[in-house]
Structure formats: structure tokens, C-alpha cells
Amino acid sequence: MASSLIRHFARPVLITGKGLFSAATQRSIPASSILFHRTQATATPPASTTTTNAPAPNLIRVNVEQRKALVDFGQYVAECLPRFVQHVQMSSTNELEILIHPDGLFSVIAFLKDHTNAQFSSLADITAIDVPTRTYRFELVYNLLSLRFNSRVRVKTYTDEMTPVASICDLYDAANWMEREVWDMYGVYFTNHPDLRRILTDYGFEGHPMRKDFPLPGYTEVRYDEEQRRVVIEPIELTQDYRKFDLSTPWETFPKFRNAVHDDAKQRQESKTPELSKPSTGSNTENKK
């Protein structure tokens, strides 16, 4: 009786050449949003030049529709959040990257999670990259996944050792341990984190191991001491001399990278040192008198 009246959930079915698939939901990005005027966030053109899916020898097949959908979505995000989005780029493997100002981290990720056209409800990963030559040496990377639209996006910001960054634990529970790992490995502080403490290193470990200036074997080693009958931590003692290998070839391998690496951190230090030397010369003249 009543059971016959219960309607069953209807799943729309689309029959394609490959087989039966349910009609995939697509983002409703309005066509008028594909504006070709320059926004302040510049969009770099896609790296691949193949426009057809015909197989060619030695060339990777590019999924043109997926790439186009991501490019459109990247432009959409740049238009909706102009205050924080600095740059939008596509990798050669059809991965969308949104580069933002660190002040806008919580807003941008909240937009990507909550907005109807985005719905990135799953946080896949939070990591960091250490590039010591930059002014803001750490580059934070957030990988998000949308189950509704089957797409991924990467959000990148920057910070240095002393500047804290907003925590996104209020949006994603997974961010809790991921941010703890970034804190432990790199030393990036997250404000409003409920429980920011070490997660992978030993208790009482000093230093942030994934930084580029942290040496590969570290600074301390542990061993069991018979007299004290416990594990002791001692400074590291290399049993063989430190070996330095000169692996450079006499032939030039990368002609595009002949120039020296841009070191913004060093340039800042050099600009500071002449200012420091001035007061010291003043005190010398006083002593002579």
C-alpha cells in the first residue's frame, strides 16, 4: 500500500559511446564570464598547443574539455575574489593553481568550499615548500577536491618564518594534523589552531627538519647508554669525514639557466649592513678624543 507510493530516487542516465554513466554535473559558469580583458590576476595561457585529440607520436594526449573547464573556473575565481587572487595558472598536466595573498587564505578556501559553483568539500593535502632565496621563503600549498564536480584545485600562498598564517581547521577537520605537520617540519605558525604542537619529530627535538638549512643527518643522534640505563641524546658524531662531491660537468647542460640565482634574502641583508656601520664610525671618533 504505502510502500508502493514511496518513490525511488531517480538517477538520470546518460548513454555515451563508452557505456552507461550518470549525467555528470557540470559547473554553471556563465559564458559571459569568459571575458578576455585583463584582470589584475593574470591568467597564463595553457602550455600545451595540441587542440585535437588525434594521437600523435611522442605527444601526450590532452583532455581538452577538462582543461577548458578548469581554465574557465580559474578565471571565474579570479573575477569573484579580486582582492586576494594574485595569479592563476595551469600546469601542463591539467592542474589548476590559484596563487593568493596570505591575508586572504581563509576567505578564498571558504569560498572554494561553500560556493555552489565550487564545492571543494574535501581537503586532500596541506604542504609547504622552502625556497630560502625568496623574501617569503615558505610557499604553502593546499590541495582541494570537489566530489560534486570531480575536479581538483591547488591554492598557494607564501609566508616567512615569523609571519603567522590563518588556520583552516574551522573549515576542514583534516587541516588539524596537516597544519601540525607543516608547523613541525617547517616552523610555519597557524593562528586559531586548536592544538598546534609537534607531530612527527621526537619529544624535545629542536629544529624544523624540512627546511633547506637543516642538514640531512641532523644535529643529534640517540643511543642507549649502559651506565645511565636509558636512551641518551648526543650531538652527532660522523664516523667518516664529511665528503663533498663535485658533480658539475664540464659541459653546459641548461643554457637557459646561465645566470646566477636570484637571491632576494641576500640583497636585503646587503642593503642593511652599510646602515649598521655608520654609528660605529661615530663612536670611534669619540674615543680618539
Binding site: A2, L5, I6, R7, H8, F9, A10, P12, A23, T25, S28, P30, S33, Q40, A41, Y76, E79, C80, L81, P82, R83, F84, V85, Q86, H87, L99, H101, D103, G104, S107, A110, F111, K113, D114, H115, T116, N117, Q119, V131, T133, R134, T135, Y136, R148, K156, Y158, F257, N259, V261, H262, D264
Partner: protein
């Protein structure tokens, strides 16, 4: 006889079948549109969100049958559409609070995004 024909389950853990989805959606969409007015009309976020919400509101008001409404909106079950509307409401309030439509706050330092670094 039931005055309303409800589906048995959403097949999603923790998501109960909504008893009056039309009422819930109209309420939420009304709130979203009202809160969107706090954002300046020139903001692209406001334009696109109003388009989306007005389209969906049109579907909700024209279609009384829930299954056909789900297919028209084409974004999952009606209970999921209600969750999306709740999220959009939170999003609108947060965007309005943070003034996201303003021009770029500040550019990154030079070479910040340069890769490879050499």
C-alpha cells in the same frame, strides 16, 4: 493516505529526508538574496551568485514534484541542494565581511612565484 509522498531514504549516512524541501529552499534562497544586497552591485561575485540562486529559485517555484525538481536543478538530491544553499549563505556573509570584491590588496614580491627559481 499520506498527504505527501516522501522518499524512503537519501542513501547518505546522516542525511535525513527533508519533509518540506520547497519551504526550506525558498527560505534559504530568500535569505541569500537579501544578504547579497549588502555587497555592491558591481561585484562579480554578487552577479554570478544571484544568477545561480534566481535560476534555482525559479525551478523550485515552478516544479512541485521533488524528483523532477532534483533533475531540473541537476546537482544531486534535494537534501544536498539544501546543504548547498546553507553553505552559500555562510559564503555570502563571509564574503560581505571580508570585502572580496575590492581590487588586489597587494602584489607578491618580485620573483615570489617564479619557478624554476634560477
Amino acid at each position: 493516505m499520506a498527504s505527501k509522498i516522501l522518499k524512503a531514504t537519501t542513501n547518505l549516512t546522516g542525511m535525513a529526508v527533508s519533509k518540506d524541501p520547497h519551504y526550506a529552499l525558498k527560505l534559504l534562497y530568500g535569505k541569500i538574496l537579501r544578504d547579497l544586497k549588502k555587497i555592491p552591485a558591481t561585484a562579480t561575485y554578487r552577479k554570478y551568485t544571484e544568477d545561480i540562486i534566481n535560476t534555482r529559485l525559479g525551478h523550485v517555484e515552478s516544479e512541485a514534484n521533488i524528483a523532477r525538481l532534483e533533475r531540473k536543478i541537476n546537482c544531486g538530491q534535494i537534501e544536498e541542494v539544501i546543504v548547498q544553499a546553507e553553505n552559500e549563505l555562510m559564503c555570502v556573509r563571509r564574503m560581505a565581511m571580508n570585502n572580496v570584491w575590492e581590487p588586489l590588496a597587494s602584489q607578491a614580491p618580485p620573483n615570489q612565484w617564479k619557478w624554476p627559481i634560477a
